[in-house]
């Protein structure tokens, strides 16, 4: 169980996340949507221990994530990707993933085998010996996913990993995510692609200016007027 309790994050005068609470389980794919600057990425940073909330806290089973260092959180089972990708540019794709694989692997052999299987899963096999700096942006996002997956997470936080893919490729990634989910990994997903949100979002949260403005099934949330105005730009809903 992953739960945010009254989380707020302030940057100077700006409330990027404002008294937000929700909870999710590993049997769920949770989608978070919202306009640009709504606070989605900031929320992910809090959930993964990268940012300490100004107020409130995050619980992961019995752990208080908000009091833990990011690397501990990762080892405990919450893996995140970065929207603005942070690859190890001077390492090959395989080596990038190896770093994640080593989070739990005990030997080189094991780590390598695990990394290779993950690379297969995200369809980066052809480029496994490329330096990360040679990848295109969508490939870098796949690499983010691969690295996160390699840490054998309980919860996987995916921040706009499908940006830059066409619809068909997006669905391929969605297939992959579903497969991962079926292995028992809880998925939290930030996406701007409504098609994907509708497909994957068993449960959808919509944020605006740091607050939760709607919550429910994909269909419900998308119907909601506040969401239509703030997010989809349907002016006279």
């Amino acid at each position: 169980m992953l739960r945010a309790e009254n989380v707020s994050v302030r940057f100077g005068g700006l409330r990027a996340v404002d008294d937000l609470s929700f909870q999710t389980q590993t049997d769920q794919i949770l989608c978070i949507i919202g306009p640009n600057g709504a606070g989605k990425t900031t929320l992910f940073s809090v959930l993964s221990g990268f940012l300490k909330p100004t107020e409130g806290r995050v619980r992961f089973n019995d752990l208080d994530v908000s009091a833990m260092r990011a690397d501990r959180v990762a080892l405990a089972g919450i893996a995140r990707t970065f929207q603005i990708v942070k690859p190890f540019r001077d390492m090959t794709v395989l080596d990038n993933v190896m770093v994640g694989a080593y989070a739990h692997a005990t030997s080189y052999k094991e780590a390598r085998a695990h990394a290779l299987s993950i690379i297969d899963e995200v369809d980066l096999h052809r480029k496994r010996d490329f330096l990360a700096s040679y990848l295109t942006l969508p490939d870098l996002k796949r690499l983010e996913v691969a690295r996160a997956l390699a840490t054998r997470p309980t919860y996987l936080l995916l921040d706009e990993v499908m940006a830059g893919l066409n619809l068909r490729e997006q669905h391929e990634v969605a297939d992959m995510i579903e497969k991962v989910h079926q292995r028992g990994v809880g998925v939290l997903l930030v996406e701007h692609s409504l098609a994907i949100v509708q497909r994957l979002g068993q449960h959808v949260l919509c944020m605006d200016s740091g607050r939760l403005i709607a919550e429910g099934t994909a269909a419900d949330v998308i119907q909601c007027e506040a969401v239509q105005v703030a997010y989809m730009g349907i002016v006279n809903a």
């Binding site: 993964s48 990268f50 260092r69 990011a70 690397d71 501990r72 990762a74 080892l75 893996a79 995140r80 990707t81 970065f82 942070k86 690859p87 190890f88 540019r89 001077d90 390492m91 090959t92 080596d95 990038n96 190896m98 770093v99 994640g100 080593y102 989070a103 692997a105 080189y108 052999k109 780590a111 052809r126 480029k127 010996d129 490329f130 330096l131 040679y134 690295r147 996160a148 390699a150 840490t151």
Partner: protein
């Protein structure tokens, strides 16, 4: 362990390692027969290589440019000199003592620096300042011999690091170097190695994958300091004189940095090659200068020494070994892409 080694052979290029092994064996066998001068040059080369490789752990793999390693080198050499003032203590006893002191000091420094997130140039300058502070304190300390330094009497006996010729120092540094090279190689493929390089490339990205960024940096710094200190102990045994103007100067640190960067920072073999090259170039230029023997020609020789780094780094931006490995990776990627395109069309 063995599977790691074989894999690294593939990654780093078996040719590179094999030639290194051949060089080591040839040198080890030939050493007793060569002119003592060449022995001494090889000793200095190995020492610089060894020091560069020790520095490489924190400066290369972890990417934290420490400019304070002279401190640890001096702890090693000064411990020998200080022990020499006590009656009847074998000088080799300096080794565990000095390593202990260095490791503790390094741990404290690292804990402070990494706790307060000193990075990049701030870490470099911060460590430089610490070493300089130490140097000034030594210069003002009577016990530590001020700027005049301390001599280490040549009390015979292996336990006093004293031998009738320099040859044993050659084998000591050779053994230390080989051990360190193999250890670096093993580390490179271990979790530690991956964590180090990852945090060098992207600290946040590494933390997201469960890498304890400051813990690992601290660990690398401590080990690197301990190894550097061992170099200092052996060096003191060789020259039997310690002084702040060399042992605790920025120039000894720079030798380590130059060796590592020139050879290829973050590679297992590069720093050894780099250290040896730096020493050989210096020797060659001094030799060149001494054929004329005037001051201005010696100045020119030093100028060429400076330009040498400029040129080498233009040709091998990632250091000699680093660039070779980089090209290898590039070639591999290119071949792969050609293959995929052929398949596609």
């Amino acid at each position: 362990m063995f599977s790691k080694l074989t894999d690294s052979f593939r990654q780093q290029g078996a040719a590179l390692w094999l030639s290194a092994a051949v060089v080591v064996i040839v040198a080890a066998v030939a050493a007793p027969w060569i002119n003592p001068y060449y022995t001494r040059v090889m000793i200095m080369g190995l020492m610089c290589g060894y020091l560069a490789a020790s520095w490489n752990l924190i400066g290369g793999y972890a990417g934290q440019m420490s400019l304070g390693h002279a401190l640890f080198f001096a702890i090693g050499s000064y411990s020998v000199a200080l022990l020499a003032r006590l009656p009847d203590v074998p000088l080799i006893a300096a080794l565990p003592l000095a390593v202990l002191v260095s490791v503790i000091l390094a741990w404290i420094i690292a804990a402070i620096c990494f706790r307060y997130a000193l990075r990049g140039i701030y870490f470099a300058v911060g460590t430089l300042l610490l070493a300089e502070i130490a140097r000034i304190l030594v210069i003002n300390s009577d016990t530590l011999g001020r700027s005049q330094g301390l001599q280490i009497p040549n009390t015979p006996g292996m336990q006093n690091l004293s031998f009738s010729s320099n040859l044993p120092f050659f084998y000591i540094f050779l053994a230390m170097s080989v051990a360190l090279a193999l250890a670096s190689l093993a580390v490179e493929r271990s979790k530690l190695g991956y964590d180090l390089v990852a945090l060098r490339e992207q600290e946040e990205g590494a933390a997201a994958l469960g890498v304890d960024v400051s813990g690992i940096k601290r660990f690398a710094f401590v080990i690197s300091a301990g190894l550097t200190c061992i170099g200092g102990v052996v060096y003191a045994g060789l020259v039997r004189y310690v002084e702040p103007g060399y042992d605790l100067s920025l120039s000894i640190t720079l030798i380590m940095v130059m060796g590592a960067v020139l050879g290829g920072r973050g590679t297992a073999l590069g720093p050894f090659l780099g250290g040896i090259v730096v020493v050989l170039i210096q020797e060659a230029l001094i030799l060149l200068g001494s054929t004329v023997g005037t001051t201005s020609v010696s100045a020119l020789a030093q100028m060429i020494y400076g330009l040498f780094f400029v040129v080498i780094l233009l040709v091998f931006p990632r250091g000699i070994v680093g660039q070779v490995l980089y090209r290898r990776i590039n070639r591999k990627a290119t071949q792969l892409s050609v293959r995929t395109i052929q398949k596609a069309s």
